[in-house]
Every structure is written in structure tokens, then in C-alpha cells.
């Protein structure tokens, strides 16, 4: 079972590179933004993986219970705010894409670059 202990990190690596691939290889701007969202989720997964303690439970203290192991609250705090900030910044990105689409008539990166050159 030892190799399963690293499985979360491998999934993190795969998600990271899937997001990266979407950002660098896809020309469509919406697709790039979805790629960034996947990349972001990979980082969330990395942090939340680190918070888990064997035999632990969520860090909400149970009244009267003794000898309970609690998982690490700190990564959870960071990711909790990051998720909401992430959706707000994604909305900003989408707004910019909408404006690009209205100005150029396309959201494909290479086509907008060509239009810029003309």
C-alpha cells in the first residue's frame, strides 16, 4: 500500500500538466481559461492532500471527545479562500475574453494575433 501514499501527488502532477497543456497548446481562449481552472484545482488538491493525518478527522473540535486526532486546518484555510478568489478571477478572465471576442470577432489566439498584424 506504500505506493498509494503518493498516488494523490501523481494525480496532482497529471492534473497540473493537463491544465498546462490546455494553456499552451490550445488556441481557444475559453479553453485556456478552463485549463487554468484545472491547473488551479491541481494546486488545491496538493494542499488538501497535505492536510490529511492518518486516523484524523475534520478540524472541528468535538465537545467532550478526548484523544481525537484532527487534520491540519491551515491548508484548508488557504484553499477555502482560494476557491472563491479563483472563481472571481475566472469571472474577470471571462469578461476580458468576451470583450476580445466582440472586438476581434474570434476567440482563437492565432487569429487575433493575425488581425493585430494587419
Amino acid at each position: 500500500m506504500d505506493f498509494l501514499g503518493l498516488y494523490n501527488y501523481w494525480v496532482f502532477a497529471l492534473l497540473l500538466s493537463t491544465g498546462l497543456y490546455a494553456v499552451i497548446a490550445k488556441a481557444n481562449l475559453v479553453k485556456k481559461l478552463i485549463g487554468i481552472a484545472i491547473f488551479q484545482s491541481a494546486v488545491f488538491l496538493l494542499y488538501i492532500t497535505m492536510d490529511k493525518v492518518d486516523g484524523g478527522t475534520a478540524p472541528i473540535i468535538q465537545a467532550g471527545a478526548v484523544d481525537v486526532i484532527y487534520s491540519n486546518p491551515l491548508p484548508q484555510v488557504l484553499i477555502l479562500t482560494a476557491i472563491v478568489v479563483g472563481i472571481a478571477t475566472t469571472a474577470l478572465g471571462l469578461a476580458i475574453i468576451v470583450r476580445i471576442s466582440e472586438t476581434y470577432g474570434t476567440v482563437e489566439e492565432d487569429e487575433t494575433q493575425e488581425l493585430d498584424r494587419e
Binding site: V11, A58, A88, A95, R99
Partner: protein, 328 residues
């Protein structure tokens, strides 16, 4: 056994991510992203992060899909097909993956209680939250009190992003008018009677549940961020059912503008009150004669501020995309 469940879900997560990137149709990609978010929430929950899972649930299931669809309605929903697979990006990505996987061999195993991350600050928080702040949810305690500065920064990021969307789209709050946006007569799901009846029934429950999450955040999973997203989802549901005009009549644009600004103001005012009463910035202990009661007041106020801002920003952004569509 639970570990195996997590492994299974993580495998599904990777498959979904590949599916999202491969989908030519952006609409399909957005729907798969919805499934991706559900899986993330389940994994967060299995990994003991109940608060994070609730946030992902509130944001991913309701708001993120709606925002992406709003943007797709304004752009294209089809990616232009590319004939050749691109070789260079694949090589770059493969090298990155291998490098990251190589780096993970140094990482502590999942759940290792001796991992460096569990050694330093976290035990202090777990040990001192009951005496210093006396609320059960350590995540809320760290979020709102111990690391209040961070959260203050995050609230300002959300505030700024909200203002940014409104002005990039050219739909500031003064231009969001109930008379200008399409009403239920032309838009909304007016012709679907049954979904409309059931949806309307749900709206008050979603808002009520949002308020519960807001004020129960000190005792169970919850808090301002989750509650804000949930209440915003409720208002967005109303807008989907009865048209944006009805939603703007229920929660006028001027209120939304005020809500976006009030959150950081409350947060900053609570911080300054700490200084005025002889403590430090965001030091809630001086807010009441009893330091623990002061902490309770401080957390309650700033969580309310966070919730108000998140609701305001999310609903404003939704209206901005919808209004942009009707401006054409």
C-alpha cells in the same frame, strides 16, 4: 478502504480532466467541468476538509457553470478544430509531468503524522483555539482571527475582481436597470412550468440554508465565503427562472453595489476598532470586556462582511454577463 475510494475518485478526476481538454465543444467542456467540481468536492470531503468541500460545492455546482455558460453565450461555443497534434507542447508537458512526479518521491506519504507540515504552526492553532477563541471550528478560527490579514486581502481581491468585471463588460451598477434587461416574457424558463414551480420553491430554502451556513460557521462547516456563494446561487436561480428583470427588482443594482463595498468596509472598520480600543489591527480581543467574547464578536462581524461581499460580487457578475448579452 477509504484510501481506495479516494484513489478511485482521483482516477475518475484525471479521466474527466483529459475529457475536458479533449472536448471540441466548449459547452461539453463546461459540463464536464461541473462533474470535475463534484469529484473535487467529494475528494476534499474524504480528505477531511469539510469546509473546503462545502466551498467547492457552493461555488462549483451553482455559480461557476452559470458564469461559464453566460460567457459562452457571448462568444462561441465551438473550438476551431486543429488538424495536427502539436508536438512541442506535448514534449514540454511530458517533461514537466515527469519532473513533478520525480519531485513527489521526496514527499511524505499521504496521512503521515510526522510530515513537516504538521510540525510547525498547525498544532498551536489546534491547541489554543479552544482557550483563546472558544469556537469548535478551527478552520473558521484560523480564517477569521489568527490569519485575519490574509482573509482581509482575499476579500479585497474579490472586491477588485467584481469591480473589474463590471467595468470591463461596460455594465456598471448604474446601468443595470430592471427595465433594460430582458424580462420573463422573453427570457427565462417561462415555458417550463414544472421546473419553474419547483425552482421557485427552492429559492427561499437555498437563501435560508445560506444564512444557516453563515451563522453556523463557527460550530460546523461554513462561514462567509460558503454562505455568500450559496445565497448568490439562490438569487441566480431566481433570475434563471423569472428573468433577470425580476431578480433586479428583488435585489436592485444599487443594493448590489452597496453590498460589494460594505464587506471590505465592515472588515476594515472592525480592524480599526481594534486599534481605537487599544489593541492592534484586527485584534478582536479588545472589542468586548471579555477577550473571548470579543473574539466572537469580531469573527461574527467579519464573516458577515465576507458573506455580503461575496454575494454582491457573484450576483453582480452574473447580471453583468446577462446585461452584456442584451446590449447587443
Amino acid at each position: 478502504m477509504i484510501t481506495l475510494f479516494a484513489v478511485f475518485l482521483l482516477t475518475l478526476l484525471v479521466i474527466t480532466a483529459f475529457g475536458i481538454v479533449r472536448a471540441q465543444n466548449l459547452f461539453v467542456a463546461v459540463m464536464l467541468a461541473g462533474i470535475f467540481s463534484l469529484q473535487m468536492a467529494a475528494i476534499f470531503f474524504i480528505l477531511d476538509a469539510a469546509d473546503v468541500a462545502l466551498t467547492e460545492a457552493a461555488v462549483g455546482a451553482g455559480i461557476s457553470t452559470v458564469l461559464f455558460l453566460g460567457a459562452l453565450a457571448l462568444t462561441v461555443d465551438e473550438e476551431r478544430p486543429r488538424p495536427s497534434a502539436r508536438f512541442l507542447p506535448l514534449v514540454v508537458v511530458a517533461i514537466t509531468t515527469l519532473a513533478v512526479i520525480y519531485a513527489t518521491f521526496e514527499k511524505p506519504r499521504l496521512g503521515d503524522p510526522n510530515a513537516p507540515v504538521h510540525m510547525h504552526v498547525a498544532p498551536w492553532y489546534l491547541e489554543n483555539t479552544p482557550t483563546l477563541i472558544d469556537i469548535p471550528n478551527v478552520v473558521t478560527a484560523v480564517l477569521a482571527s489568527f490569519r485575519g490579514y490574509d482573509t482581509f486581502g482575499e476579500v479585497f481581491v474579490i472586491f477588485t475582481a467584481g469591480i473589474g468585471v463590471m467595468f470591463v463588460l461596460g455594465t456598471p451598477w448604474s446601468r443595470l436597470n430592471a427595465d433594460d434587461v430582458p424580462s420573463a416574457e422573453t427570457h427565462g424558463l417561462r415555458h417550463h412550468l414544472i421546473p419553474r414551480v419547483v425552482g421557485r420553491l427552492l429559492v427561499p430554502f437555498i437563501v435560508l440554508f445560506g444564512l444557516y451556513v453563515q451563522f453556523h460557521g463557527e460550530y460546523g462547516p461554513g462561514g462567509g465565503f460558503q454562505a455568500g456563494a450559496l445565497i448568490a446561487a439562490g438569487i441566480i436561480l431566481y433570475a434563471l427562472l423569472d428573468g433577470e428583470a425580476a431578480a433586479l427588482r428583488a435585489v436592485p443594482a444599487s443594493w448590489l453595489a452597496a453590498m460589494v463595498a460594505i464587506g471590505p468596509l465592515i472588515y476594515g472598520a472592525v480592524g480599526l476598532a481594534g486599534i481605537v480600543l487599544g489593541g492592534r489591527f484586527l485584534d478582536y480581543s479588545v472589542l468586548a470586556t471579555d477577550p473571548v467574547a470579543g473574539q466572537h464578536w469580531g469573527i461574527l462581524l467579519i464573516e458577515a462582511g465576507v458573506g455580503i461581499t461575496v454575494t454582491g460580487v457573484m450576483v453582480s457578475v452574473f447580471h453583468a454577463f446577462a446585461a452584456r448579452a442584451s446590449m447587443r
